[in-house]
């Protein structure tokens, strides 16, 4: 164990906690001071956890209940509590100094633990409930800790990680070119082919290692939520239980930062508009305490974050009447949508209902903006609702933004790319399956399944591709069937921003293909959105 680091981190946290306590003492009613104090305590607990200082961690977990009590205002912020907190900090300091000298820390004085526990015992049942998920995460971390025994850590400026990541990005591009060059040499030199394959794997490994350096547990994303739930419950006269799951699921730090606001807004929405007040809930046979659940889980190379509640849900018809009134969509188009698609119109720009309409989302970050943030992170967001049983907003994001797997496709002689994450299937375009439904091109992709037909030849080059005459291939996405000349292959690419791109661009950036060609990466949602806008006009 690197004791230097241990001392450094703990010393910082301890100092901050002491300052927080001072502030709290002079102003016990200040929620910010309390919040700051709770946070630094949390950092102490996290550092002990991260560094595998088991006895320190075990001791710190005594503090969990205490901190939580303070957060929920179940413990009075008085001299007694603050006194105990001070003694705790003193003891943590002692322990960390012992550890820093390379000795195992002594156990805590029994009477200190006893006085903490007596304080916590007075809090009643609810206390442990709040942090069920969270504790689960800690317990998991600890067992992982046991397996890997002692782990060295080092603190690194994040800009250095960013630099490493961007250099790996360049390496990935070079690797792609190497692979393409070796493939082009036919008949290839066996040794060279093997060497290229191995380089391929080594770069993959390096890339994922560097990628994981930038990962942080989603716990960081969750840390403000308990406070918000508590505050808002009081404000709206509701009773809520917050369940957090998957705090150990790791996400790129850029995403953690970008998601903080949207997540907060979604939780706020759930409390404000989703959950009913206790009386209303009782009337419909629900428990008086509503549940807001925030979960994170890994799905392959993606992370799914869900915010759900067991409140009154969202009515698709009401969403429809609002978007129709605001001309986000016309009646004819709306008729083609199923209930789930109607519901998801809630994310459209302008779909935000006004106050009089008994809003779905009246304040904070609008849903349209949330979707923009999610899309800028190459993710997608959708809502599901089973009216009366609640609503669930589900966000899917790539684990990392560093590398974007793309599908290259040809439009006549030009090559373009689109993110693999958008591709549901590649299919042959049957000329006989094209239809015109109320003036819009549609294509039947399977018996009973018809989707919009989006001719990229027409959209990007102004010259339509003619199935049956020109070479054509269909890329099925959730937005419809994108028709191209041919799908060529997939590759991990590194996205370079387009300087010239104006706001309305249909491209999210450019990359360099294995052949060394600069290839534009299509921004499919932006393209589809502009098509829809064009059709509406």
């Amino acid at each position: 164990m690197d004791t230097g680091i241990l001392t450094e981190i703990l010393a910082e946290s301890l100092l901050a906690t002491r300052q927080g306590l001072l502030q709290l003492e002079s102003n016990p009613a200040d929620p910010e001071a309390l919040d700051a104090c709770c946070r630094t305590f949390q950092t102490i607990i996290d550092s002990a956890n991260a560094l595998g200082a088991h006895s320190l961690l075990a001791w710190c977990r005594n503090l969990d209940g205490l901190v939580d009590g303070l957060r929920r205002s179940a413990l009075p912020v008085d001299d007694v509590t603050i006194g105990i907190l001070r003694r705790c900090i003193d003891f943590v300091e002692q322990m960390s100094e012992t550890v820093a000298r390379g000795n195992p820390p002594a156990p805590a004085p029994p009477e200190l633990a006893e006085s903490i526990q007596s304080l916590v015992r007075g809090l009643g049942e609810g206390a442990s409930e709040l942090l069920v998920g969270h504790m689960g995460a800690l317990a998991l971390d600890e067992s992982a800790e046991g397996a890997s025994a002692r782990r060295d850590t080092i603190r690194v400026e994040s800009s250095r990680l960013d630099r490493a990541m961007s250099q790996v990005g360049e390496l990935v591009l070079l690797r792609n070119r190497l692979t393409a060059a070796v493939t082009a040499m036919s008949p290839g030199d066996e040794n060279l082919v093997r060497l290229a394959r191995e380089t391929d794997l080594a770069v993959d490994d390096l890339q994922s290692t560097v990628m994981y350096l930038r990962m942080q547990p989603s716990r960081r994303l969750f840390q403000r939520l308990p406070q918000v739930v508590r505050d808002l419950s009081v404000q709206y006269g509701k009773r809520a239980r917050l369940v957090l799951e998957g705090g150990d699921v790791e996400i790129d730090k850029v995403m953690i930062e970008a998601l903080a606001e949207p997540l907060l807004a979604l939780v706020r929405n759930a409390l404000e508009h989703g959950l009913e007040c206790p009386r209303e809930r009782a009337a419909v046979g629900k428990t008086e305490i509503g549940e807001v659940r925030v979960t994170a889980e890994h799905l392959g190379d993606k992370v799914r974050i869900e915010v759900s509640d067991d409140g009154r849900g969202v009515d698709p018809q009401r969403v429809l009447s609002i978007v129709l009134a605001r001309r986000v969509i016309c009646q004819a188009d709306a008729q083609r949508l199923n209930q789930e698609e109607l519901l998801n119109l809630i994310f459209e720009e302008g779909a935000r209902p006004s106050d009089e309409a008994g809003g779905i989302d009246r304040r904070g970050v609008g849903l349209a903006r949330i979707r923009r943030v999610i899309q800028s992170l190459r993710g997608r967001v959708q809502i599901k609702s089973n009216s009366a049983a609640g609503a669930c907003v589900s966000i899917e994001l790539p684990v990392s933004l560093a590398v974007l797997p793309v599908l290259y496709f040809k439009l006549r002689r030009e090559t373009y790319a689109l993110p693999v994450s958008l591709v549901d299937n590649l299919i042959e375009v049957e000329p006989g399956h094209l239809h015109n439904v109320s003036g819009r091109a549609m294509v039947q992709i399977a018996p009973g399944s018809t989707v919009p037909y989006i001719d990229l030849g027409q959209r990007l080059h102004g010259v339509a591709l003619r199935p049956g005459r020109d070479s054509c291939e269909g890329i099925l996405t959730e937005h419809g069937l994108l028709v191209v000349s041919a799908a060529v292959g997939i590759e991990d690419s590194v996205v370079k921003p387009l300087d010239i791109a104006h706001r309305e661009s249909w491209y999210q950036g450019a990359t360099i293909s294995g052949e060394g060609e600069v290839v534009l990466i299509l921004d499919v949602p932006a393209l589809v959105h502009s098509l829809r806008a064009g059709d509406a006009a």
Binding site: S186, L299, G300, D301, K302, V399, P405, L407, V420, S421, V423, N425, L426, I427, E428, E473, A487, G489, I490
Partner: protein
């Protein structure tokens, strides 16, 4: 080849040219399909991350196999070329010889150079027959190569189906992709069988 008349050979060789064309055209379509299925599999693998890495190898081998098949099929076309050339030269020379052979024996006896010319024609025909045999061998060698690659592809498909069966989470999607690949390979195998049969009818 001597057991067939020139007439039979002519229709046989034209049949080969047509069959090769048909084979190439259908094969191209099937290979495009195979490539699409393999690309689909690669997309699926990408979308599911590391857990499907094993299937990624399958998809890649499948694409590689499809590309090798494409190349082998092109070489097959190149192998057809000398065969066609050889036969059409035979046809041209026989045509000339025929004109001379139509002359009565009496006339031919009075023009001794004619018999010499006819003998030269006969000699040329024998040489061409040798060339044809050589070209036929080359063709059957190329056909075997194509067959070999199809067998490899079949093996890749079996591997893919095993991999698919092992991945419980995404089994349905993978099984579909594997079944599609399997179907595509079966179709190629069928094409190849029909093509080989049409060649076998003309060439020994």
């Amino acid at each position: 080849m001597s057991h067939l008349s020139l007439e039979e050979m002519r229709s046989g060789f034209l049949g080969i040219a047509d069959a090769t064309f048909e084979f190439q055209r259908n094969l191209k379509r099937r290979l495009r399909e195979i490539d699409r299925k393999a690309l689909n599999a690669q997309v699926l693998v990408r979308r599911h991350g590391q857990e499907l890495a094993g299937y990624g190898v399958v998809a890649r081998s499948f694409r590689d196999g499809a590309q090798r098949l494409q190349q082998a099929a092109m070489q097959l076309q190149h192998a057809i070329h000398p065969l066609m050339l050889g036969f059409m030269e035979t046809l041209r020379d026989s045509h000339q010889a025929e004109q001379l052979q139509r002359l009565s024996v009496a006339v031919r006896e009075r023009a001794p150079q004619l018999n010499e010319t006819l003998r030269r024609h006969q000699h040329m025909l024998e040489m061409r027959s040798d060339q044809s045999r050589h070209a036929t061998l080359r063709l059957s060698h190329m056909l075997k190569r194509v067959e070999h690659i199809v067998t490899e592809l079949e093996y890749v498909v079996i591997n893919g189906r095993i991999e698919a069966a092992l991945k419980t989470d995404v089994r349905t999607a993978l099984t579909q992709v594997s079944a599609d690949m399997n179907k595509a390979v079966i179709q190629v195998r069928q094409l190849l069988r029909e093509y080989a049969a049409s060649i076998g009818r003309v060439l020994p």
